[in-house]
């Protein structure tokens, strides 16, 4: 019963880890994943969140086995 969490680019450096894994028990939204892994109460609206590689908002539901990712605005191309 776990949720895999990933951080990329400047956010990865700020958070100080590329990934994390948390217990899915009692975690219901993306925001709660953020709070539990980063220890900050709110999610800066500039930060993008994805669940299973699809963009979602902070109130999106998460469940056991999900891959949740947080990252700054994209700058490829």
């Amino acid at each position: 019963m776990s949720i895999e969490v990933k951080f990329f680019a400047s956010l990865r450096e700020r958070v100080g880890k590329p990934s994390d894994s948390i217990d899915a028990n009692g975690v219901t939204t993306v925001l709660e994943v953020w709070q539990q892994t980063v220890g900050e109460p709110s999610l800066d609206p500039h930060i993008l969140a994805a669940v299973n590689m699809e963009y979602v908002s902070a109130d999106h539901a998460v469940c056991d086995g999900d891959e949740v990712a947080f990252f700054p605005p994209v700058t490829g191309g």
């Binding site: 400047s10 590689m53 963009y55 990712a69 990252f71 994209v74 700058t75 490829g76 191309g77």
Partner: protein, 148 residues
Amino acid sequence: MLVEISEQPIDVWPRLASYEDEHPELAGQHGASVVFAGRMRDFNEDETVRQMQLEHYPGMSEKFLEDIVQRAMDEWSLMDALVLHRVGKINPSDTIVVVVVWSAHRAHAYAANQFIMEALKSEAPFWKKETLDDGQTRWVEKNTPGTV
């Protein structure tokens, strides 16, 4: 359709020659091909840039590029499309991204190519970190707008 993300340098023109050779079904069928090649400049925001590191979200970056190309193929009449994106260490003048579309008509080719680039720039999970002349590094914070 081919989408490829690689750390290997993109030798764009020979690569396009090979791709067309390997796809003889395009010959005689398409009237228009539009290519976008994005290259690394040796300057950005008034500073000399010596090198760049391109990070991506493996899995999601491929998924989004394929999804973006598919949306373009659903919207316009395209015979084929090719997207190549470089990641890892990149030097000035290196090709970062290549988008190619083949269509019967030029209007579709232009519109679809530009759509793919704009969607790629706003949705595909890639991030650039620049190394400046003094060795300092900085993350590029946002992409420039795609309109004149």
